[in-house]
């Protein structure tokens, strides 16, 4: 992060785009505007966030410095601020897919080139399919299977709650090699839309509609050997361990989006209720403090990732704190706006609906609490800059 890329400078710059995001938020939520059209109407610099510099000739400028949003500590500021504008559109951004992160770090040159060229030039979406209808995102229970017959590799199974699934041109599928069990038999394969046997069906959700959640079905889908990611890579970068590592790195971003929605609800109350009772003012004061606390924890988790010392427990704590905050702020905002607030304040109703979605991203709160406890009990909560001896 350069001197010009301080969180405050990034926040101020991205705030301009957040205002743009807000303009289409309700119409997109109500289905009056197509998500894909809105995304493609945005300026190129915002559609190319986080792309490697060689694929991004229109980086966002902050002062005289280009910012490619390559650090997690930059990314969380962007995600928070854009989500303050509209978390649905934030999640609709093609670069917001977890697949991008995995492809960059684990894919071979051909897949990488196809992915980033499609993203940079055509704003193509990708999906990352982990969750299954009956097993959630528990990798050890996964039933989607990669097997080999006389003609090569075949994928079978069903994934659910997959972002961008129906609108993506390609994506990654987390699966188990037939005949294996435990953490080491898990693989990630790339599948292109239109491949015979592959179907993507959109799911209707109460909020965060820009995410484009989908159900994906794989019925004897053929997979080339070179579409298996990370062949030859160490186990720590593949399968279960690779995915867990990815989630550890990206979970602060989910917290940042939740924080952005919390701020939006907080700001909405401030704009609509110029005077509050002393008791309600105290409630708002506590929310302002919790916003600062959540932001500090997200920043700490992001810093740990940037220092190449990611802490799953710290990332989980960052997400947990933000999810609890957005839950409380949006509910309280409805109360503070008075009876029928959901009906009379459609934006607030949307914020409340969006808020509920973060609970289900990358592990629910009770799972996060287990992860945090495990890290804490084994002295892996803080990896940087402070820590306690074992």
């Amino acid at each position: 992060m350069t001197a010009e890329h301080t969180p405050e400078a990034i926040r101020a710059r991205i705030a301009e785009y957040a205002e743009e995001f807000r303009k289409t938020a309700l119409a997109m939520h109500e289905g009056e505007l197509a998500v894909e059209d809105v995304v493609r109407s945005l300026a190129p610099e915002i559609r190319r966030f986080s792309l490697p510099p060689e694929y991004n000739d229109t980086p966002l400028m902050i002062g005289s410095e280009p910012m490619y949003v390559r650090r997690i500590s930059e990314s969380v500021v962007v995600q928070e601020e854009l989500s303050r504008g509209d978390a649905g559109l934030m999640l609709a951004m093609p670069w917001a897919s977890l697949a991008t992160f995995i492809i960059e770090h684990n894919a071979g040159p051909a897949i990488r080139e196809a992915h980033f060229t499609g993203l940079a030039e055509r704003s193509e979406w990708t999906f990352f399919a982990v969750t299954e209808p009956e097993h959630g995102s528990d990798p050890l229970s996964m039933k989607t299977t990669l097997s080999r017959d006389g003609d090569g590799l075949v994928l079978n199974g069903t994934k659910r709650y997959v972002g961008h699934g129906f609108r993506a041109s390609a994506g990654l599928v987390f699966c188990r090699k037939e005949g294996t069990s435990g953490p080491m038999g898990l693989e990630t394969v790339r599948i292109e839309a239109g491949t015979p046997g592959f179907a993507a069906v959109p799911l209707q959700t109460i909020g965060l509609r820009g995410a484009g959640l989908s159900e994906l079905r794989f019925d004897n889908v053929r997979v080339r050997d070179d579409e298996v990611l990370g062949n030859g890579a160490p186990a720590t970068r593949r399968g279960l361990l690779g995915a867990a590592r990815t989630f550890d790195m990206l979970r602060p971003g989910v917290g940042a989006m939740a924080l952005g929605v919390a701020r939006a609800a907080y700001d909405y109350v401030r704009a609509e209720r110029r005077t509050l009772s002393a008791a309600d003012e105290a409630v708002m004061h506590r929310f302002a403090e919790r916003i600062a606390g959540s932001r500090a924890l997200i920043a700490a988790a992001a810093r740990a990732v940037d220092l190449r010392k990611p802490s799953g427990a710290l990332s989980s704590a960052a997400k947990l704190t933000a999810v609890r905050l957005v839950e409380d702020v949006t509910l309280e905002a409805l109360r503070l706006l008075g009876p029928c607030a959901r009906l009379e304040h459609p934006l607030l109703d949307k914020l409340r609906r969006d808020a509920q979605g973060f609970e289900f991203m990358e592990g629910m709160s009770d799972i996060q609490r287990q992860t945090i406890a495990q890290g804490y009990l084994t002295n892996r909560f803080w990896t940087a800059p402070t820590g306690l001896p074992a």
């Binding site: 506590r286 302002a288 403090e289 919790r290 600062a292 606390g293 959540s294 500090a296 924890l297 920043a299 700490a300 427990a313 710290l314 989980s316 704590a317 947990l320 704190t321 009770d366 996060q368 609490r369 287990q370 992860t371 945090i372 406890a373 495990q374 890290g375 804490y376 009990l377 909560f381 803080w382 800059p385 402070t386 306690l388 001896p389």
Partner: protein
């Protein structure tokens, strides 16, 4: 502060010292970098290891709070609290002390069993441990931020308090008996009264 160590490094060391060696050692360390009158807290009260009390003119002992590693003496003075940096340092020490209490608690829960499971392995217990870590994590993350004058201090206090109470509850009824556990917890609570970063109700 005397300036021989950067504030944040000293504060971090205070936390680790409180965890490893107890509150007395942490407050000794903190005092070594502050002027003698810095430990005067809210209401003119002081709560420090006894040898530090001699540095404060006119301090009158009014109580003693045993811990697992020694005793903190409570005293009254006619002075007013003025050194917020000291109180921030004590907040770091309190975090370390809560972590010390928490480690005793989780060690105990690892020894106890419910049916065939170690108590610490029960998901509800682990979730509560996760809440302790999250509360302390948020407090540390806030204290690590630049511009300490802008710390939302009441949130920091609430998070430390929440972690303390949750860790204390892990001891069950044994934590209610006057003994080492309740001594440690009560000393931390009184410290938080005397050295709250900012006094509640202040404008």
């Amino acid at each position: 502060m005397n300036g021989s160590a950067t504030a944040i490094d000293l504060y971090r060391e205070c936390r680790v010292t409180a965890f490893e060696g107890g509150l007395e050692a942490a407050l000794d360390l903190l005092a070594s970098e502050f002027p003698p009158a810095s430990p005067v807290g809210h209401g003119g009260r002081v709560m420090v290891p006894e040898p530090l009390l001699a540095r404060i003119d006119g301090a009158r002992v009014s109580g003693a709070y045993p811990t697992d590693t020694g005793t903190l003496v409570l005293a009254e003075t006619d002075l007013s609290a003025s050194d917020r940096d000291w109180r921030v340092g004590v907040a770091w020490a309190r975090i370390g002390a809560v972590e010390r209490l928490g480690r005793r608690a989780t060690d105990r829960l690892a020894r106890r069993r419910i049916g065939n499971s170690a108590t610490i392995a029960l998901p509800l217990v682990r979730a509560a441990v996760g809440d302790v870590a999250t509360a302390l994590g948020q407090a540390v993350a806030l204290l690590e931020c630049p511009a300490p004058q802008e710390h939302p201090s009441s949130l920091i206090e609430r998070e430390i308090g929440l972690a303390l109470r949750t860790a204390w509850r892990f001891f069950g009824a044994s934590g209610y008996v006057v003994d080492t556990t309740s001594h440690m917890a009560q000393a931390i609570e009184v410290l938080s009264d005397v050295y709250a970063i900012d006094a509640g109700g202040e404008r």
